[in-house]
Assembly symmetry: C2
Homo-oligomer: 158 residues x 2
């Protein structure tokens, strides 16, 4: 329980754009599916959502595109818990592809635990989820540094 | 030529997730389609890509999710040129929805002008595109400030 499962994506033909490579937004979709698996792993799965009316909402997403990904490529997403508090988790995704050395993309997400009632409201994680997050963050911190990480997008003039 | 066209998105039923709202990644897809229209407006369209083998690649994407968007909602994306240099443009997208006051999401993107040869390589914008970018940035700067803007994703402890 100290490691998160690897998510393997199959690239759909419709995800390829006029540039002949994976359209930018579909990296986000793959990351979104990878986070669904993280939720299952944490126990924030369909049964939990049904029982508690609690789920995760994405607050922010930041993607770095490092290499083109083609229709014929495989994609393997490894996920880390970079940080968390009582209601939020900060997740990092590394996109690997067997054709390329190093990541082809990285993503960071901030996710909020939400109770979906009349009006959605933030809610603390249950204790067992907190314990899992703690173990996963400890494991993540033992790995090589994550990056490129989120930053302010801007043109830096040289 | 000082204003960019508004992009109106139709929300596909398949874009709704188990939380009953637009899945995070599809905001990115809508922004990606909005940028396609910006490219057309700048003259970086299908004919240009065919003629010059030049196109735009996304380097970074950062999204802020501010409100839930439902299946029945409309979405209207307005785009600005926040900044540019000889090869890169920094774009901001504001997601509006008639049900909600204020933006339901914002996105920023850094895009690179690329020549697609044997190996893709960055290339300067043609002069007429530079002139259009200049006029569009000037117009964008005259509008109310854009935000929330890109920043480092992190948990700030209170």
């Amino acid at each position: 329980m100290s490691e998160l499962p690897v998510y393997r994506a199959t690239i759909d033909a419709q995800w390829i754009d006029y540039n002949g490579h994976l359209r930018d937004a579909y990296y986000g979709l793959v990351a979104s599916y990878a986070v669904d698996e993280v939720m299952d792993h944490l126990g924030i799965d369909a049964a939990y959502r049904e029982r508690t009316h609690c789920t995760l909402y994405t607050l922010e997403l930041h993607l770095h595109y490092l290499h083109e990904v083609k229709r014929s490529d495989d994609l393997e997403i490894t996920t880390r818990i970079l940080d968390f508090d009582r209601k939020r988790m900060h997740v990092g995704c590394r996109f690997g592809c067997s054709r390329v050395v190093g990541p082809v993309a990285t993503a960071e997400m901030m996710l909020l635990h939400v109770h979906q009632g009349e009006k959605p409201a933030s809610a603390p994680f249950p204790d067992d989820v907190m314990l899992k997050l703690e173990a996963l963050q400890k494991y993540s911190a033992s790995l090589e540094p994550f990056g490129p990480g989120s930053r302010k997008i801007e043109l830096q003039r040289r």
